[in-house]
């Protein structure tokens, strides 16, 4: 198991290297440069523009800038932000480093139980009223975009009823809506998956055997069938987490949360190269790590996979 995890961790390195190259290339390919953005309307002042360009090292050949950036990044040095004068990148990322993954994790931990229970419930009551009702709710939750749900909830709960703060970050009350908005579409997606998988599992021979042995329906479903539903759902959880991470871009903007998603957008617009690079690398790292975690979780659920990993 340890060997397996180590192997996977080593595999992360090439992924990050490729990300580094692609991101560096993509961000430099954007029109406009940091100094022009910084000076905006004053950028015709060639003297000032040249002075700043030299101070930020932007007057060197791009290849040299890349080599310098990569060697520094390997040593864990991400340099100084362009937009925030004299502030190191690490400090700009600051609390955002925790906020975005925290939002995504809170949402997925909320979405998983809700989704699985709703999906199982629907599958068990297949073709009955309860099933149809769940499906209708799922379709609604999946098809309304999150910014629309957010706007509606803000209007209802914050402005009309005054129960929760509209936006901001710092108190538990301010986290309720963003996490809920993030979780809704994921929960609906998980519910749909669980329902399908559950229906498939319930057709299997071993379920018939269990029932034939006289095992209670509750035990059949929640003890034996559910376990087999969890594996495919967990496979998707990695992808769902990735989706949630990128949805934090939207939610953080709407609820004004100082996370990495909002920072990513701001740094790209400001052509704050060092910050934008760091944010993208971090998102990729989160994504890879969460997928590794899920693979390890499989083993905990499925003994066959555990054996295969041990053999590898």
């Amino acid at each position: 198991m340890v060997v397996y995890i180590l192997k996977r961790l080593i595999g992360i390195v090439p992924v990050l290297v490729v990300t580094l190259i692609v991101t560096f290339g993509a961000i430099r390919a954007l029109p406009g440069d940091p100094v022009t953005v910084m000076l905006s309307d004053h950028s015709a002042n060639v003297e000032m523009a040249d002075r700043l360009r030299a101070e930020y090292g932007l007057d060197r050949p791009v290849l040299q800038q890349f080599v310098d950036y990569s060697t520094h990044a390997l040593r864990g040095q991400f340099g100084f932000s362009y937009r925030y004068v004299h502030v190191p990148v690490i400090e700009v990322l600051g609390t955002g480093l925790v906020i975005s993954p925290l939002l995504a994790l809170a949402a997925i931990f909320l979405a998983l139980p809700f989704g699985i229970i709703a999906g199982t419930f629907a599958a068990v009551h297949r073709n009955q009223f309860a099933d149809t009702a769940v499906i209708v709710i799922l379709v609604i939750a999946l098809s309304i975009p999150d910014f629309a749900i957010a706007t509606f909830l803000v209007y209802l709960l914050c402005i009309k009823l005054g129960l929760l703060p509209v936006a901001g970050w710092g108190s538990l009350a301010q986290a309720v809506l963003p996490v809920a908005v993030l979780a809704v579409p994921s929960a609906a997606y998980i519910a749909r998956l669980s329902r399908t998988f559950m229906l498939e599992v319930l057709q299997q021979d071993y379920i018939r055997t269990l029932r034939a042995k006289g095992l209670g329906e509750r035990l059949v479903i929640y003890r034996h069938a559910l376990r087999n539903v969890l594996i495919p759902v967990l496979t998707q959880a990695g992808i769902i987490f990735g989706g949630l991470l990128s949805n934090t871009f939207v939610v953080e903007t709407i609820f004004n949360i100082p996370g990495l998603g909002r920072l990513a957008i701001e740094s790209v617009f400001a052509r704050d190269y060092p910050v934008a690079m760091a944010v993208v690398l971090l998102f990729v790292l989160f994504f890879v790590l969460i997928n590794l975690m899920i693979d390890v979780l499989y083993a905990a659920i499925d003994p066959r996979l555990r054996a295969r990993m041990a053999a590898a």
């Binding site: 937009r83 004299h86 914050c158 129960l163 703060p165």
Partner: protein, 516 residues
């Protein structure tokens, strides 16, 4: 059951937190659109930072809500006898936020720091370029700025290589010379080093910037205790926060102008003023031959119905501009006649110029950044309809567009120029003056340049304004450009907040603001 009581308890806590924040009512909560890029007067170079810095730091003069420059850190000044320059008499008894007394030494220190090549200095450094010895400090040759002499604690002489009559009104914010020794080079995000009515207390990146009242302010302590600048990037979020009572004063961003203007609820809370931004349709005569003919330039202007544009295109969020200098800026000429809309005359002028119904005109692109794409489509359509001009729309990424304009590579474009200080010279000497790098349409007129040269060496304010008026008329008679309506700056103020105004240069100082 457990969950229900949990939610109940949770909501009660949330409500309680609300009630508490409402009780501490002497805090003014205002939104800003992004994190400030800096909090110090040295690297200061952008609008958002300015909103905060102008409450914390002061310059020789400050501007009143109606755009007049009045003495602040300097009590008075007079021209130097020995040559170009000024002697400033500084306000005695002013204290920095650190408790130290403000003296002439701090002024000299600030100037030298601004010119120091290692400081990544922003706009402030540009105002100092005419001071004797500025180049030596900028190139690192010298640490001492020769042209600035400390006469005594409250008197300082500033000598120039060439006369700079506006120097006293430049917003060069003066900082405490003792702060670096006391707090280290990263003092900027820890303390404030100004003399202004508010002190910087903290900056929670992405969340808020907080200021607290300076009880020892030389012009009397502010009436409120604190200001919280909440960083809210999204226009709709900011409005929702204002509606929910989480903001006392709202800087309205453009995407929701129509929503705010169209809602009767906000009518009594709305503060709408023309920005200090001179807007125009630039016509580069070197890039598009027909623009060489004055009649064509005039026809373009006559083809634009300004009143209808203000109502329709800008949805009411604009004000007429009949020249270059905008209202609320020194040297504004209120006697200029309104811009005419006369399609018949416009057609006739085009025919006289040899382009009847636009026949014979080569195709032309009208270019701007993405936020102005609707406006571009409007001009293209209107000019085609009235003059038969074959105009196509070209939307360009903002920084690339600015770069191209600065290089004089854009033939036809709507743009604006925002004044950094309240004097018409800011527009006149930069936008249309021959040698200026910001003369983006590459307009050139020796008569005009001569008037500007003269104004730049006229110390007497009224005489200088007269020269502005003459220069402005030279531009208008020559149809150097077509003036465009000035965009409005909108803000909303809760009924319990008083003595706060929205000015062409942003909000007035929060020094006299009160909250019921």
């Amino acid at each position: 059951m457990i969950t229900r009581s949990f939610i109940k308890g949770f909501l009660c806590t949330a409500l309680l937190a609300f009630a508490c924040s409402a009780a501490a009512a002497k805090t003014l909560r205002v939104n800003i659109q992004a994190d400030p890029a800096m909090m110090d007067p040295i690297t200061y170079s952008e609008l958002v930072s300015g909103r905060i810095i102008e409450n914390v730091y002061e310059a020789f003069t400050t501007k009143t809500p109606d755009g007049k420059s009045v003495p602040a850190l300097a009590l008075s000044w007079e021209p130097l006898q020995s040559g170009y320059g000024f002697r400033f008499h500084l306000r005695p008894g002013v204290k920095f936020h650190s408790g130290r007394t403000f003296t002439a030494k701090d002024v000299k220190y600030t100037f030298e720091t601004l010119l120091d090549p290692t400081m990544k200095a922003g706009l402030g450094a540009e105002y100092l370029k005419n001071i004797v010895g500025a180049d030596d400090v900028k190139s690192g040759k010298s640490k001492d700025l020769k042209g600035v002499t400390v006469v005594d604690d409250n008197t300082i002489d500033v000598a120039f290589t060439k006369l700079d009559v506006l120097f006293p009104i430049y917003p060069i914010y003066i900082m405490d010379s003792g702060i670096v020794a006391e707090q280290g080079p990263d003092w900027m995000t820890k303390v404030s080093a100004g003399t202004g009515p508010f002190k910087f207390t903290q900056w929670k990146r992405g969340v808020e910037v907080d200021l607290t009242a300076n009880k020892d302010y030389w012009d009397g302590a502010p009436k409120i205790d604190d200001i919280r600048f909440l960083i809210v990037g999204d226009a709709n979020t900011a409005l929702a926060q204002y509606d929910a009572g989480e903001l006392d004063f709202l800087d309205v961003y453009e995407p929701i102008y129509q929503r705010v203007l169209g809602d009767a609820r906000y009518k009594d809370q709305l503060l709408s003023v023309p920005r200090a931004q001179s807007r125009y349709l630039g016509m580069n005569q070197k890039l598009y031959a027909p623009f060489k003919d004055k009649r064509v330039r005039e026809a373009v202007s006559l083809a634009l119905p300004r009143d209808a544009m203000i109502k329709g295109l800008y949805g009411g969020a604009a004000f007429p501009l009949n020249g270059v200098v905008t209202p609320g800026v020194g040297g504004y000429d209120p006697t200029l006649p309104p811009m005419k809309y006369d399609p018949v005359m416009a057609k006739k002028l085009m025919a006289d110029a040899g382009y009847p119904d636009g026949k014979g005109l080569p195709p032309i692109m009208i270019t701007c950044s993405p936020e102005y794409k609707d406006e571009l489509a409007y001009y293209a359509d209107q000019l085609h309809k009235v003059l038969g001009m074959p105009v196509t729309v070209n939307v360009m990424e903002r920084a690339t567009f600015i770069k191209a304009m600065n290089a004089g590579e854009v033939a036809f474009f709507p743009w604006g120029w925002t004044a950094d200080y309240p004097d018409g010279m800011y527009y006149l000497a930069q936008m249309w003056y021959g040698p200026s790098p910001y003369n983006r349409a590459r307009y050139s007129n020796p008569d005009y340049d001569h008037l500007i040269d003269e104004a730049q060496s006229t110390i007497d304010v009224q005489k200088r304004y007269d020269l502005y008026h003459q220069a402005e008329r030279v531009l208008l008679d020559d149809w150097a450009m077509a003036p465009l309506p000035i965009e409005a700056s909108l803000a909303l103020r809760k009924p319990n907040v008083h003595n706060i105004s929205n000015t062409p240069f942003g909000f007035s100082s929060f020094k006299d603001t009160t909250i019921d």
